[in-house]
Symmetry: C2
Subunit: 156 residues, 2 copies
DNA sequence: ATAGAAGTTAAAGTTAACTTTAAGTCAAGC
DNA sequence: GCTTGACTTAAAGTTAACTTTAACTTCTAT
């Protein structure tokens, strides 16, 4: 069942998946993908990994972190090529999360609209200030650092 | 016009704005805010800075990077409290960018929907694979590193 | 006058997602 | 037999947005 032709060297896997070899090694340290070793300690990736790699990349485009992706992939079989059903479950779940992010952004957008004309940046009760929705974290950079200190309001 | 009461020590500015003193110093190195120095080399922030700091925080919630925020703030007066008109211009521009991000996300969502049932992760021409829309960069982490290598397709 | 709170700077640490570099191993072709 | 190309690991570098630490200095109140 598992013929040698089913396995790719890291360089070939890189070419076929479109990601750098260093990235593949990195993904492996993060448990996102797996390999077997052959003589000389060289890695060999099963062809099924190619699809796994593709899924990872798609998920990143959708805005998920590697940590989240790893968690999602843990629900998939490692060595078996994910079935249509597997992918359906994953993508449905991701779709819901995407919807949530869109909703969050729209809420923020509404709040901003309400604030555009009013000059309310001077007000203590500006909805934008006191909004604690999950929308923070959508931008770039490490959001986990933000909000460490409780936000006591602008006081102006 | 500029009375001493108009100036705050860094600790007071931190308390009133809700951000840590270290953050204020950091923002200053990035040119986001400014201060004057009094005896003993201590910083003093003009009260107008409080509003500037608030704007920075709001913009971050909206998902903008400090670099983008700095650029936007450069269109504002430094020492003068931003007027309602100033804020209107800023927030309008930010609103448009928010709209764009929402649109991008929705496009992505549509593509995902189209792919949920079809099992197309196995296809070379899956729209999700070959989507090069600006939606990448909405997630966490440094997206500038992604896409360095041209994406030659999954090949599976 | 002196303790303690608050300030100052420079440098290093943190997280994510990788890349780059250094130094060495292996296999294949000529 | 030897060069070349592909591989391996471990460690350090990169960016963003801060925080933490170290080593001092200064202000404030008693």
């Amino acid at each position: 069942m598992k013929k040698p032709e089913d396995y790719l060297a890291i360089g070939d896997a890189a070419k076929r998946s479109g990601v750098a070899t260093s990235t593949l090694r990195f993904y492996e340290t993060r448990g996102l993908i797996h390999s077997i070793r052959v003589s000389g300690n060289h890695r060999r990736y099963h062809r099924a990994m190619l699809r796994r790699i593709s899924i990872i990349r798609v998920a990143q485009t959708l805005g998920f972190s590697l940590r989240e992706i790893a968690a999602a992939l843990d629900t998939l079989p490692d060595q078996r090529t994910p079935t249509k059903r597997d992918w359906e479950k994953l993508s449905t779940s991701w779709g819901k999360q995407l919807d949530q992010r869109i909703t969050d952004l729209q809420n923020l957008r509404d709040k901003l609209s309400g604030c555009i004309g009013c000059g309310c940046l001077s007000l203590k009760r500006c909805t934008l200030y006191n909004s604690d929705d999950g929308a923070a974290g959508l931008g770039a950079g490490p959001r986990y650092l933000l909000g460490d200190e409780p936000w006591s309001g602008p006081g102006d």
